[in-house]
Amino acid sequence: MPAIATATALEVNNVRKQFGALAAIGGVTLTVGQGERRAVIGPNGAGKTTFFNLISGALPLTSGSIVLNGANVTTVPAWKRVRMGLSRTFQRNNLFLSLPVYDNVQLAVQREKGTSYNLFRPASGFPEVRAKVLEILDKVGLSHRAEVEVANLSYGEQRQVEVALALASDPKILLLDEPTAGMSITETRRMIDLIKGLPRDLTLMIVEHDMEVVFAISDYITVLHLGQVLTGGTPAEVEADPRVREVYLGEE
């Protein structure tokens, strides 16, 4: 745990996810404090993405429970968890491909601002929505691409839209699934800066293979292996742990 004792943002209690005979997540328990920067690492197939899918509500649990800011959300649908302050990005770009970047972000912002059921005014005619969209585009560095259809963006730019969509709903807890995978070095640097600049009270969980990113961002690392928590600790502790090297080397 980080030095500052804080309120608990997320509690995962003995969570299991079974895909047929495979226990993709086989009984994971962990707690993440408010404002923590938590990295989740592990070899391919360890269950990191599945774990995020369970926390965000994209997949139902087989057993166990999930508590978000004190509220049990185990059976709460994904869209409601977003409204409780939980937001996520996807490992594989998961965007509105036929719409321009601006409209992609606008969809997330108008939901947050509560104007989505308005049938009578043009979507672009809400100043508070527009200001927020422009702010987020600026933050992720896509202002100059606002009018481009997402399908025509580079892969790295699409990754930035992923993050923009997640930020648009002003999350209290943010789950990033390999945000820098496929990004250029410049784009990765920019993403690190962006993440470092997030509000200090925001709780962050990040799945990342790039150790440079993990070390730059996280204050605590959980290592998943075969659907279970292998170990956890500060970046320095985890780096020194021979078991961690073993599972990574064993896979390679």
Binding site: W79, L95, A108, L119, A123, L134, E147
Partner: protein
């Protein structure tokens, strides 16, 4: 690191300037493009208004235009579901049929002969029908959604074709309610035509407004990626249901106008063939645009009238071309799905972009 920090604010300032110019650019370009579309649309509507005064004796043509406009309203309603929300429903005929029966039965069974009331009841009954059928259909997706909308629609169809109240297989004939505006009787062809044109323009404008609204954006989001909509906090089911109800209301208006235009409504209006026909119209014209369904309705109804007029003399095996209207629709459907998924409007757009614009720009340079 220190160089990065020095450069960063500058880069950010540059970015927000680009943002401002690009958003302005979007507005200006958008206004320019929509300005042109509105001008063209206005000219078309004026021409349609003028037509019966220029050719008062062409009752065949005016009748055909009435049918085209009604079909266009119906196709517009379906495009909200299919083109904008991405739901391949095979039940749009249900709301058209419900509207028609509501308008007709009010006269034939309840002896209330009131034009406005018939239209109002058509819209209300069709939206209620859309709400009820929608609640069931929307819980499913993909092939199941298709099958369920089809099954529910065919249930209504077989009910109407067996029930005496709805005229079973013969349909219901009724006296068209008398109504006049500015002293013109709407039972006369030309005033009725102008009224249908007015209804069409209103529907087009209402849908334009809906499509541009935040709600319309949400429908496009559902079409593109429903799962992602959920992940940014939308309860997508509600949006789909509201889209169903709006589309149902407009289809009901089209069905009501059709019944009032003929003084007749039959179970066939509920048949899946009608749902298939609007699907073809929307695909042919261009899904996800409002002009597309109108163009599609125009071509489909015009072609149908041509084939049923002259096609009855064109032999096709043991049948004539007119008997093969459904096959013709099917072939149009296949050709457009395979070769022009964005319809005539899409073809037009790519033509304009590729040749004309390049030539013009070339000349400017």
């Amino acid at each position: 690191m220190s160089i990065d920090n020095i450069n960063k604010p500058k880069a950010e300032i540059a970015d927000s300037n680009v943002a401002a110019t690009s958003v302005m650019g979007r507005l200006i370009q958008g206004r320019f493009a929509t300005g042109w579309s509105w001008a063209v649309g206005g000219v078309v509507v004026l021409a349609l208004i003028a037509y019966p005064f220029v050719n008062p004796s062409d009752t065949f043509g005016i009748n055909l235009l009435v049918q085209i406009l009604i079909a266009a309203i119906f196709a517009l309603s379906y495009d909200l579901i299919f083109g904008y929300t991405g739901l391949l429903s095979f039940g749009q005929a249900s709301y058209y049929g419900l509207g028609g029966f509501a308008a007709g039965l009010l006269v034939a069974r309840f002896n209330i002969s009131n034009f406005w009331l018939s239209l109002l009841v058509a819209i209300v009954v069709a939206s209620l029908g859309a709400a009820i059928l929608g609640i069931f259909s929307i819980r499913t997706s993909g092939v199941y959604f298709m099958m369920l909308t089809l099954a529910l629609a065919q249930m209504l169809f077989s009910l109407a074709s067996k029930w005496d109240f709805t005229g079973s297989s013969d349909g219901v004939t009724f006296t068209r309610p008398e109504f006049s505006i500015f002293g013109f009787s709407l039972t006369d062809l030309v005033p009725f035509y102008l009224f249908v044109l007015f209804a069409f323009v209103v529907c087009f404008l209402v849908l334009t407004m809906v499509i541009r609204s935040p709600f319309g954006q949400a429908l496009k989001g559902i079409r593109d990626n429903e799962n992602r909509m959920t992940a940014v906090g939308y309860q997508t089911r509600n949006f789909k249901l509201v889209a169903f109800i709006i589309a149902g209301a407009i289809a009901g208006l089209a069905g009501g106008l059709n019944a009032l235009s003929n003084g007749f409504v039959g179970a066939n209006t509920l048949n899946w063939v009608n749902s298939g026909a609007v699907l073809v119209m929307v695909l042919l014209g261009g899904k996800g645009t409002l002009v597309g369904p109108v163009v599609g309705a125009f071509f489909t109804i015009w072609l149908q009238s041509q084939i049923q007029g002259s096609g009855s003399s064109i032999p096709l095996g043991n049948y004539t071309l007119a008997d093969r209207w459904l096959s013709v629709l099917g072939i149009i459907f296949m050709v457009f799905v395979l070769f022009a998924p964005n319809g005539l409007v899409g073809l037009g757009k790519s033509l304009v972009r590729s040749k004309l614009v390049k030539n013009l720009l070339g000349r400017v340079k």
